[in-house]
Subunit: 238 residues, 2 copies
DNA sequence: AGTTGTTTGAAACTTCTGTTTGACGAGTAT
DNA sequence: ATACTCGTCAAACAGAAGTTTCAAACAACT
């Protein structure tokens, strides 16, 4: 009835889970664009070509649908295959691979990257879904990167030093996700484009490698810190 | 009537703009905590001890109140007095002053800093208020910092190089604002405390200075770029 | 004291939105 | 064929929230 010109089978009910999938896809878009609160079931269902009752029927409610979206969105985009790389690959190469993957994921996936957008909102206004996101998505990357950073800076320093090195790298990348609206309004050239992407990656890699070098020198100047290993806490003085 | 034990003069209407100020104060808190959409006029008015009609009477509506809050929130917190520093102060000192000011503002102003919180939301979900925020708040800092960075890297490079240097610095600071919920969930030591604040500032300063050094070396290796000046656009290849 | 403009308060209004309901159609097993 | 289940749909329901209304209170001025 919604499309009088279409035959009735367009609303074929028994294409296993068709509307359910359509709802998840539509919800991913709408939640990413508007956020949980601003997103309306009616808009999601309209985009999915489904009835407003479909969300409650298939998921139980708006919040449950959101949880499904957050879980599903992890598997969108390029997978972090470079995390398989180990010590057989030079640390600088691993660093560059991670930066390229992360930056590409955050800035070059079309107008809005659902994962990045939803993550951004989760950070400003966390929901219970954030905890799963951290354990299944952020922490693996963080520990992998810390190994790389530890190799690049050199051994014998405190855990908090390596943690700061990791954050200095990540921050330069996620910056372009979190501050994109500002950068785009600041003028052309602030936000990376396809043409400037590689130069941007190079800059972050070089800047970080130089930063690690400086950290090693500073650590040497201040004297090596004993007992650096053996603590799970990256910071010892608080 | 809301406070039966207080005398009636507590609702004294003609303390010039009393309710208006109370509304702005309350709205700042509520908007920062909940965001524009989640914040309700009723909660703001209850916190301000005012009637729900007060917002529409004094401001015209919810959105206008939000605009007032965004404008007013710029003047909260420590003012950026260091922006007065010029070439008579070593560039490294100016850099450190800016980093210390910004980081202190973003991470050490109690549980929630209204400015940072609202800014964070504006970046994820911009409203018309963001444009004013950029022109009156971000851009002055950006141009000031670019002068410092230009001095630290050295002359003769492209505008986009200096812009990237600026962003590498800023990103390391705002990271702690935008990713605070994640860092706090990652474990102790990731998010700066009063005890680790100075060490954090030192790290960002040293890391950045070393990064600038690397940028200068890389530029020298690739050869100096002519015609770097004279363009307002920090990026030339897009 | 009376008038006037301003501010406040309680209630109602309107719209939006998540959810529920009951009916209908299609496939499937008995 | 009948009954049952599943999915869909239009409509209605219920609550929340922004806004409006109108009367009352107050201060300042005449």
């Amino acid at each position: 009835m919604r499309f009088p010109d279409a035959n009735k089978s367009e609303a074929a009910p028994h294409i296993a889970g068709a509307t359910r999938e359509a709802l998840i896809a539509a919800a991913t878009t709408v939640f990413a664009e508007r956020g949980f609160q601003d997103a309306t079931i009616r808009e999601i269902c309209q985009l999915a070509g489904a009835n407003v009752a479909a969300v409650n029927y298939h998921f139980g409610g708006k919040e449950d649908l959101y949880s499904e979206v957050v879980v599903a969105v992890k598997h969108t985009g390029a997978p972090p295959v470079h995390l398989q790389m180990g010590a057989e690959v030079p640390a600088a190469v691993r660093l560059e691979a991670h930066i390229r993957w992360l930056l590409g994921r955050l800035v070059c996936m079309g107008p809005v990257d659902p994962l990045g957008q939803i993550m951004g909102r989760e950070m400003i206004q966390p929901t219970p879904a954030l905890d799963r996101l951290i354990e299944e998505f952020f922490r693996p990357q963080s520990v992998w990167l810390e190994v790389v950073v530890r190799e690049l800076i050199g051994p014998g320093l405190g855990d908090e030093v390596y943690a700061r090195g990791v954050m200095s790298v990540i921050s330069q990348v996620v910056f372009y996700k979190h501050c994109r609206p500002v950068l785009e309004r600041m003028g052309p050239g602030y936000f990376p484009t396809a043409a400037t992407f590689e130069a941007q990656v190079r800059h972050i890699v070089d800047f970080s490698l130089a930063g690690f070098h400086g950290m090693r020198l500073a650590a040497a100047a201040n004297g090596p810190k004993p007992g650096a290993e053996g603590s799970d806490c990256p910071s010892r003085n608080h």
